[in-house]
């Protein structure tokens, strides 16, 4: 124990974050508000990323680093609500299915009509977005049928 314990801990932690950031940047990945804690080889990593696939790439990249036996993924996908990104529903004629999860195997919980607009909340996997319809229904839909306005 000592008067500088917390400062020394913060410095060690920041140096770790810096070294992990460098590895991620080499691979074109950036994490906002990145925090890490290495607990006996188990690396807890938190912060916000662009989408879920990025989070999975982060885990894969750091998993193999010296001194890391496992990675606990506490990363969150960036919440875009405040950016108010509106997207138009670009289906051929039909309405767009809004689902409970990111995949066609998940239950349909609502629909966004052809030509309507939805608000982008989070980019999940590359082909699936979490959106909010004009009618207030929140759920997942395929990115293929959306176009940024």
């Amino acid at each position: 124990m000592g008067l500088f314990d917390e400062v020394n801990k913060a410095v060690t932690n920041q140096q770790e974050v810096n070294s992990y950031s460098a590895i991620l940047q080499e691979n074109g990945i950036s994490i906002n508000n990145m925090k890490t804690a290495n607990l006996n080889g188990k690396l807890n990593i938190s912060g916000t990323v662009h989408d879920m696939q990025t989070a999975e790439r982060v885990v894969a990249l750091l998993q193999g680093q010296p001194g890391i036996e496992g990675v606990v993924n506490l990363l969150e996908v960036e919440d875009l609500t405040s950016k108010n990104i509106q997207m138009s529903v670009e289906t051929k004629e039909s309405n767009l299915n809004i689902r409970k999860g990111p995949g066609t195997n998940f239950e349909i919980i609502g629909k966004a009509s052809h030509g309507s607009t939805v608000q982008l909340i989070k980019r999940m996997y590359n082909d699936w977005y979490y959106v909010k319809t004009d009618e207030g229904i929140e759920g997942f839909c395929s990115k293929s049928y959306l176009k940024e306005m």
Binding site: M1, G2, L3, D5, E6, V11
Partner: protein
């Protein structure tokens, strides 16, 4: 005989001055200090720094005891100053050995401590 007397007086004067200086440092540090700034060897995130500065204070008492609390961490134990007032040693009650800090500045209202490339600045609490 006169020379001897003069030498004795001079020696006493020097000893008195040295003793006085040491006493001053002990007096100066024995108060409550509020942590006002932290400069780390690595740039820290603002949120981390703010958290560490939050309600952080160090209290050094005349009887050689200290406590630290707030965002900077909780610790208590005993301390000693070197005679020049240039270094501070602490022995935590938690019993994990002593720590030595360089005293960069010690006045009645400011205390600056350095350790492992990190600097903590404190101001005297009124």
């Amino acid at each position: 005989m006169k020379k001897l007397k003069l030498s004795c007086i001079s020696a006493c004067l020097v000893l008195f001055m040295v003793a006085s200086c040491g006493k001053d440092h002990s007096k100066q540090i024995a108060r409550t200090w509020t942590v006002s700034d932290i400069e780390a060897s690595t740039t820290l995130q603002d949120s981390v720094k703010t958290k560490m500065l939050s309600n952080s204070q160090m209290v050094f008492t005349k009887d050689g005891q200290y406590t630290a609390n707030g965002g900077i961490g909780t610790d208590q134990g005993s301390y000693t100053l070197d005679k020049d007032g240039k270094s501070l040693s602490t022995m935590s009650d938690a019993g994990k050995g002593n720590q030595v800090y360089t005293i960069d500045k010690l006045t009645d209202d400011k205390l600056v401590l350095k350790n492992s490339g990190n600097t903590i600045t404190c101001v005297a609490k009124n």
